[in-house]
Amino acid sequence: SRADRGDTSAADTATDQGPAAELRLGYFPNVTHASALIGLEKGFFAKELGGTKLVPTKFNDGPTEVAAFLGGSLDAGFIGSGPAINAFAKSDGEAVRLVAGGTSAGAQLVTSADITKPEDLVGKTVVTPALGNTQDVALKKWLVDKGLKDRVQVTNRENAQTLDAFKKGEVQAAWLPEPWSSRLVLDAGAKVLLDEKELWADGKFPTTTLLVRTQYLKEHPQTVQALLRGLLTANAYAGSDSADAKLAVNKQLEALTGKGLNAAVIDRAFTSISLDTDPLAATYPRLAKDAVTAGVATEETKLNGFFDLGALNTVLKAAGKPEADAAGLDTK
Amino acid sequence: MTATLPTHRGTDTAVRLTGVRKTFGQGTRAVTALDGIDLRVAPGEFVCLLGASGCGKTTVLNLIAGLDQPSAGTIELSTSRPAVMFQEAALMPWLTAARNVELPLRLAGVKKAERETRAAELLDLVRLSGAGDKRPHELSGGMRQRVALARALASALNREGDGAALLLMDEPFSALDAITRDFLQSELLRVWQATGTAVVFVTHDVREAVRLGQRVVLLSSKPGRVVQEWAVADLDAPEGALVTEEINGRLREVISSHAA
C-alpha cells in the first residue's frame, strides 16, 4: 500500500542532466509581472537560454498556474506569493521551489472619498481579488490588528469587476494589486487609504515570485540559471530605461489581451512596485502566520525547504551583486 | 344512448364538393389523388364511399373535414366542424380509453360528471364497458377501433345548434369480427336515425355499404373520380344482393381497367 512504500517522489532522485530542451514559463498579463513581460518582449530570456526552447504560457489566475505546476506541465513561473505558498503546501513541500523574487510591493487599500480612517469601514464591504491571495491575507490580518474583524465584510471579486462596481458605487473599498489600485484611483476617483508598504519594514514585501518545479530545478540547474540571468537583465533594463520598459510592458499587454493600459496608469503603477530578484525570504514566516491570523489557513504552513537560492546566488555572484538570503528556509 | 339533437334539414346540403382536385407533392413527385370530384350530400343523408385501395377515399374525408386544402375546386359545408372517425384509431396514448372518449366533451367544456356518464354510456354502446381505464397500448386492435368509434360519436352527439350535423367515418368496422360489426352497424343506424346527422361512410365491404347507405358512391383510382352512384335506400334482401353483385362487378371493372 501507499503507506509502506513511503513517498519517494521522482524529485528526490533526480540528477543534473544538463541544459533542458525546453522551458515552459508561466506568467500573467499584469503589471506585477513586469519582469516577465519585459524579459519576453525584449528577448532577454531567449537570449540567455540559447538552445533551450522557451515556451511562454499565459495564465489567467494563480490556482490554474498552481495546478499546472503540480500537474508537471509547467517548469517555471511567475506567480503571487500566496499561490506560491499554496503550491508548496499542497504538495507537502515537494513539487516546487522558490528560486527568486519578481516584484515587491504594489498593493493599496483604496476607498471612496468619504472613507478617511479605518473605522469608517465599519459596516462596509471591502473587496480583494481572491480568497487566500496576498491581498486577501493582508487585508484580513490588518482588520484583525485594527480590531475590525467582525465589523467589516470581506468579499472576493475579479479585479475588473471591482473597478466597474466601484464606478457604479456598489463598492466603496478594495485592497488591490497594481495596476488595479492605480486604475481605481485614476479612472474611478478612488483615494488611497493605506499603502501596504507602510505595514512592512523597508516597505518591502513580496508580490510576485519565481517558482520552479523541484524536479526541473534538480535536472536542469543551468537552464534555471540562464532564466535568472535573463531576469536580472530585465530588471536592470527596467531600472535604467524605465520609459522603454513601460513601453515594453504595454506592448506585451496589448499583444496578450488585445489592449494596453493608458500611460498614466502604467506610470503610477511603476512608482509603487519595485522589480527585485531578492525573494524577501524573511517575510515569509510572517505571511504564513498572517494567513492563520486572517483565518484563511487553519495551520501555519511549514516553509522549511521552500527556498532554493543556489542558482540565484550563483548568478548574482557572477554579476558581482550581493547574494540573497534564504532566512534559513532553504533546508528541511 | 337516447340523445336526440335538433336536426337541421333546413339547409339543402350538408356537404357539396365541386370540381375538387387534390395533388400531393410538387414537381416530378407530384401525385394527383383526386381529380374533378363532384359530390353532394343532403342533410341527414347516409352516403357510402367505395373504391379500390389507394383511390382517394381518405383524402376526400380529409378535405371535407378541413384537414387538407383542395388544390382546386370548392368545398361547402353547412356545419362548422364535422365529427370524424379516422382510418387509424389515433387514440391519445397518454389517456385511458374513457378519457379518450371524454376528450371531445372536455374540449366542448362539458362538466366532469356529465362527461364521465356520457363516456361510460358510449363505451357501453361499443361493448367496452370494462375497458374504460385501460390505456391504448393495453387494448387489442379491434378494441382501439371501437374506442375511436365511441370518441367520434361523442363528438358527433355533442353539438348544439351548430348547423346540420355531419359524421365522417373511414372504415370504422374494418378490425371487428362479424358479430360485433353487425351489432355496431345497427347501433350506428339507430344513432343516425335518432339524430338526423348526415354520414359519409367509407368502407371496403360492399354489402355493408348497401346495408347501411342510402346512396353508394364508387370512386375510380389514379386519379380518384366519381364513377357511378347507386341509390340503395330501403332495398329488400334480394334487391340488395343484386345491387351488391352489380357494384362488385363495376368495382372489378374499374380496378382492372386501371391495372391495364
Binding site: 500500500s1 501507499r2 512504500r5 513517498d7 517522489s9 490556482p63 498552481v66 495546478a67 503540480l70 500537474g71 499561490p83 499554496n86 503550491a87 499542497k90 504538495s91 507537502d92 515537494e94 513539487a95 464591504t125 481572491a130 480568497l131 487566500g132 491571495n133 465584510q153 468579499t155 472576493n156 471579486r157 475579479e158 475588473a160 469587476q161 466597474d164 462596481a165 457604479k168 456598489e170 484563511v296 | 373535414a65 378541413g66 384537414l67 366542424r81 364535422p82 365529427a83 370524424v84 379516422f86 387509424e88 389515433a90 391519445m92 396514448p93 397518454w94 385511458t96 378519457r99 376528450l103 371531445p104 372536455r106 374540449l107 366542448a108 390505456r135 391504448p136 397500448h137 370518441r151 363528438s155
Partner: protein, 290 residues
C-alpha cells in the same frame, strides 16, 4: 433507500401535472426495486474502490489524486459544522426558483417556436445560439447590469436554461405523430386547447428530456454564476465553496465541492426526473428498459 422515498415525490409531481394526465404509478416489481437501489450503490462502491486502489498504488502523488478519505473528510467537516446545509440551501433554492422561472418562460416560447413558422425562422437560431454561449460569459455582463444581486444570478440561470427547455419542447413537438393534432382539430380544439390537451401531453416525453437538460443547464449556470459573483448579499453557495477550494489550490476541497454539486444533480435526477419519466413512459407503453 432512495427508491422508496421517491414514490411520494413522484406521485406528487404527477399530480401537479394532472393537466397532462400523467397516470398513477403502476405497482413495481421487486427486482426493479432491488435493481434501482443496488445498482447505483454497486456502481458507487466500484468507483470508490478503483479510486482507492489507484491512490494506494501511488502512481500519482497525493496532490494530484487525493485519497477518497481526504475528500470525505472535507465533506464531513462541512457537514459537522452544519455549513453544508447553508451551501445547499443557498444553491438549491436558487436553482429551483431559477428553473421554475425558466420553465414558465420557456414553455410558451417553445410552443410559439414549434408552431409559428415565422417565429421559428426568426428567433429559432438565436435560441440555439444562446444555448451555446457559456454561462461564464454572461456573469460579468449580468453583474455589470444588475450588480451582485440575485437578479444577476437569475439572469445567468435563465439565459442558460430557457433556450434549453424551449428547444427540448420544440423537439418534442416536432416528433408528435401528425395524426394527433389533426384529431385534436376535428374534436374542436382551438389553439390554446390544442396546446394544453394535445401538444403538451403528446410532446411530454421529449419535453421531459428537455427539462432534464434544462435543469442541468440551470444548475451548471448557477454554479458558474456563484463561482464568479460573490458577495455577502448573495450568501455562500456550493459554487462559492468550490471556488474557494480552487483559490486555495486545495484539491480535496475541490473534489468535495464537485462531489456535492454532483450529488445534488444525481439527487434531483433520482427524486424527480427518473420517476416522472418512468411514469410518463409507462403510461404510454413505452417502458423500454425502464
Amino acid at each position: 433507500m432512495p427508491h422508496e422515498a421517491t414514490a411520494p415525490v413522484a406521485d406528487h409531481a404527477v399530480e401537479g401535472l394532472d393537466a397532462l394526465d400523467a397516470p398513477p404509478e403502476q405497482p413495481r416489481r421487486r427486482t426493479g426495486l432491488v435493481r434501482s437501489v443496488l445498482a447505483p450503490i454497486g456502481a458507487l462502491v466500484l468507483f470508490v474502490a478503483v479510486w482507492q486502489a489507484l491512490w494506494a498504488a501511488a502512481i500519482w502523488p497525493e496532490y494530484q489524486l487525493p485519497a477518497p478519505i481526504a475528500v470525505w473528510d472535507q465533506v464531513w467537516k462541512v457537514t459537522q459544522t452544519g455549513q453544508v446545509w447553508e451551501f445547499l440551501w443557498v444553491s438549491v433554492h436558487r436553482a429551483i426558483i431559477g428553473f421554475l422561472i425558466s420553465l414558465a418562460v420557456a414553455t410558451p416560447l417553445g410552443l410559439l417556436l414549434a408552431k409559428v413558422a415565422i417565429v421559428r425562422a426568426a428567433i429559432g437560431p438565436v435560441i440555439s445560439g444562446l444555448q451555446s454561449l457559456p454561462s461564464v460569459a454572461w456573469v460579468p455582463a449580468a453583474v455589470l447590469w444588475f450588480g451582485t444581486t440575485d437578479a444577476a444570478i437569475y439572469t445567468v440561470v435563465l439565459l442558460g436554461a430557457v433556450p434549453s427547455i424551449a428547444n427540448g419542447l420544440v423537439a418534442g413537438i416536432d416528433q408528435i405523430p401528425p395524426i394527433l393534432p389533426r384529431v385534436g382539430k376535428v374534436l374542436g380544439a382551438g389553439r390554446v386547447d390544442a396546446a394544453r390537451y394535445i401538444l403538451l401531453p403528446a410532446a411530454l416525453p421529449g419535453y421531459l428530456a428537455g427539462l432534464k437538460q434544462g435543469w442541468a443547464f440551470s444548475w451548471r449556470s448557477l454554479m458558474a454564476a456563484e463561482l464568479i459573483a460573490t458577495s455577502p448579499q448573495l450568501g455562500f453557495g456550493l459554487g462559492q465553496y468550490l471556488h474557494n477550494g480552487m483559490s486555495l489550490s486545495d484539491m480535496s476541497m475541490v473534489m468535495a465541492g464537485i462531489l456535492l454539486i454532483f450529488l445534488v444533480g444525481v439527487g434531483i435526477e433520482l427524486l424527480l426526473f427518473r420517476p416522472l419519466e418512468r411514469a410518463v413512459l409507462r403510461a404510454r407503453g413505452l417502458s423500454g428498459s425502464l
